[in-house]
Amino acid sequence: MRYLPKSPADREAMLQATGLRSVDDLFTPIPAEYRLTRDLRIPRQMAESEIVDWFRQRSHENGEGYTSFLGAGAYLHYRPVVIDALISRGEFLTAYTPYQAEISQGTLQSIFEFQTMICELTGMEVANASMYDGSTAAAEAVMMAVRLTGRRSVVVARSLHPEYREVLATYATHQGMPVSVAGFGDDGRVNLKELEKAITPETACVLMQSPNFFGTIEDVVAIADLAHRHGVMLVVSIAEAVSLGIVEPPRQADIIAMEAQSFGVPLGFGGPYCGVIATREKYVRQMPGRLVGQTTDKHGKRGFVLTLATREQHIRREKATSNICTNQALVALMVNIFMTVYGKVGLKELARQNLAKTVYAAGQFAKYGKVLFGGAPRFNEFVVTTSEPPHAINSRLLGHKMVGGLPLKKFYPELGNASLWCCTELTTRSAIDTAVGLVAESERSVRSAKEEVEEVAR
């Protein structure tokens, strides 16, 4: 086996040194009747070339080279090549959690820079070293608000990513946290009246997303006012990090739960991604997840360590703020490098291009289908309703090697034939025109079929 660095003679010598006669002696602690005496029924040992070939075939089956208009919490942005060049260095890739600070300063300093940039971008005072993903970060942020307020219930916006809502429901059920939902209005934004009605004296926090699941930018200032008037904390989820380049961050929030996948992390069929929680300094001791802090060593030299570990499970066990143990360090490093590459000016320009493509696309779609939620600003996603079910249109788009918008009926039955479309800096004008052309064709054929029926009826 090519990963095992021993010759048969080495093994023999080592067995002898330990005073054992055979390998079987090593396993005598396992009762004989539970020792496996046959081969595992798994694929045979494969050569590296066969493994590469096997995964290439899976890649073909997955469809390569499609132009996609899918967003909905997972975004295709360009990944600068320096990201993979740097994260492939064994010193980053094959290191453990930086508990031994003296030989982990590389990881620690890069996380400190990550925390700093997340603070800058979100307008918060502290950010952690990352969480599993945006959905679990949102659930953890809610539990944090529950601890901080001593209240148990939560109001969640229906315009929050539906799968984030499902994850919250799973966590909340067993924590005995009642969850109520506030709907959205004709502009796609949280319905403030419904929200106010849903808040009770037991409400710990309001959880919302901006830009929300429909791509609409919420009126965070108004929602924060409302929440704070009732002594309720505001948790804002951000699923599309690139928006932070041009959209004012939700500075009025008490906790921000973010998904940073857009910053240089491959789509990878849904993971691994990079959640982050950012908040005010005064709440830091109730924050879940690892934190890196600056300190000095015994010679007075600047260095970095994991800190405030007394919140964490390996010290506090069942009294910890969370059971979370790992963060997403290597993914956070991708995010860190991405933020460093684009920086102060590039992130803004990147966001501006996303906005421009989306304005163009939404404008073109509006000529043939109906674009919903026009009354509020949006970032890089928009909702289109069509006469034909979106699945049918998407089937035809697949024939042109294009993946159309996400049909929303599964998550929002009330929206009928609506689908959620996304444009990023990688979406070309010609792809938009082709997609719009197919939607237009669909609308024309439905209309003429309808006219035919009416003709016959007459």
Partner: protein, 496 residues
Amino acid sequence: MRRMTRKATRHASQNEGLIFEKSSAGKAAWKLPPLDVPEVDAAQLLGSSERKDLGSMPEVSEIEIIRHFTRLSTWNYAIDLGMYPLGSCTMKYNPRVNEAVARVEGIANAHPYQPERISQGALRIIKTLSECLIEITGMDAITLQPAAGAHGEMTGLLMVRAYHQAQGNARKKILIPDSAHGTNPASAAIVNYAVENLKSDSRGMVDLAALEAQMNEDVAALMLTNPNTLGVFEQDIIRIAGILHAKGGLLYMDGANMNALVGKARPGDFGVDVMHLNLHKTFSTPHGGGGPGSGPVAIKKILEPFLPKPVVITHPDGTLGFDYNRPQSVGRVRAFYGNFGMFVRALAYIQANGPDGLRQTTEDAVLNANYVRKGLEGVYDLPYSTPTMHEVVFSDKLQAKNGVRTMDIAKRLIDYGFHPYTTAFPLIVPGALMIEPTESEPKEELDLFIEAMKSIAEEVEEDPQTVLDAPHSTRVSRLDETAAARKPVLRWKPTS
């Protein structure tokens, strides 16, 4: 007096400040293509939601970024540099073919919501890995959705709770041995179960009499790590399972130490009802400085209705798909389907090994731990003489007489060119040195490690101060953690 070490030599390492300290206006590492659609007026479109300024975000060039992160990387220790004997962490070699196949275009760029028709490859990867892991664990079904080990624990306990609820009583508590990982009690708390400690006996194993006495209809499950954190196989496992099952409880196995069992024994065969695996331990996906992990949960049939949704199914026409229609499911524990990129890597590892390679891997891991044990017995105190599987736990009892504790020995090991072992864990061993070499170490590296540990033991006798002041060869030494926690500085701030 400084001893010579055969493994490491000091050499110059580059200094490097924070990236913000290199930033200046007008430098850039990015270039966007010309816009092929009309320009927009953000102020007009976004109104008060328009962001004007990005604060202190850096402005640097590409070469500076490459140097910055390359310099930082050289300050890390890594498996690629040498032995990483962290007990219970299974720091094994991370094969590079895993990384290569995870970056194949149709895999790396697959969107989680792309139509099933063009997701067959991804679904096949999920299904094939699931089948392999079910066979390896001897269980009946599996979910790959949990993002890490602790997340898997939570998911497993959610299923335990749902199972008991379906029987009419969710029950109140989880039994956890005092040798368990900290995540076990923390996960039980997240699922709103009370935690009751179970003490270990003189062999370092579950005390059967205590278990018998504490087991009743309020206990939902026992969470057991096997081999446990002493590296000891729970020989009474089948009686433990019997005691639980007799009172309707379930046996949860923390699979953190599965590297001792793969291909040699299957938890499903010895009474385990639910267990999680750590793909980043046993199945070679890289730790990456603290993540991403992946924590699949394998279960027996009785728990199948409660699996998180969606689950992968085969349609009548032979194609694969996701099934969301699972009325008894505990729900979702994460958006999308889990850390898919880690599934790809774990499967590539299983393929590279096959049944014979996995068995040999386990044998080598156990052989390595026993070899280290033999080499250091007598030099360091061995609190439990029970046979060792994949890891061995010593204590600092002999060295403590000279005022040297496990953390000091660990720090001195750095000077000898090794990453420290796990210190001060498990909690049942005061001053623990927990050593897990894994299968990835050749005999030569193990000999150097044993030699280093012996040399440090001699230093403790002759010149304890050298050990107490260690490490001597690193960029920074003995960072002030108390100050860091008392007045936390968690971000850089511009000095204006």
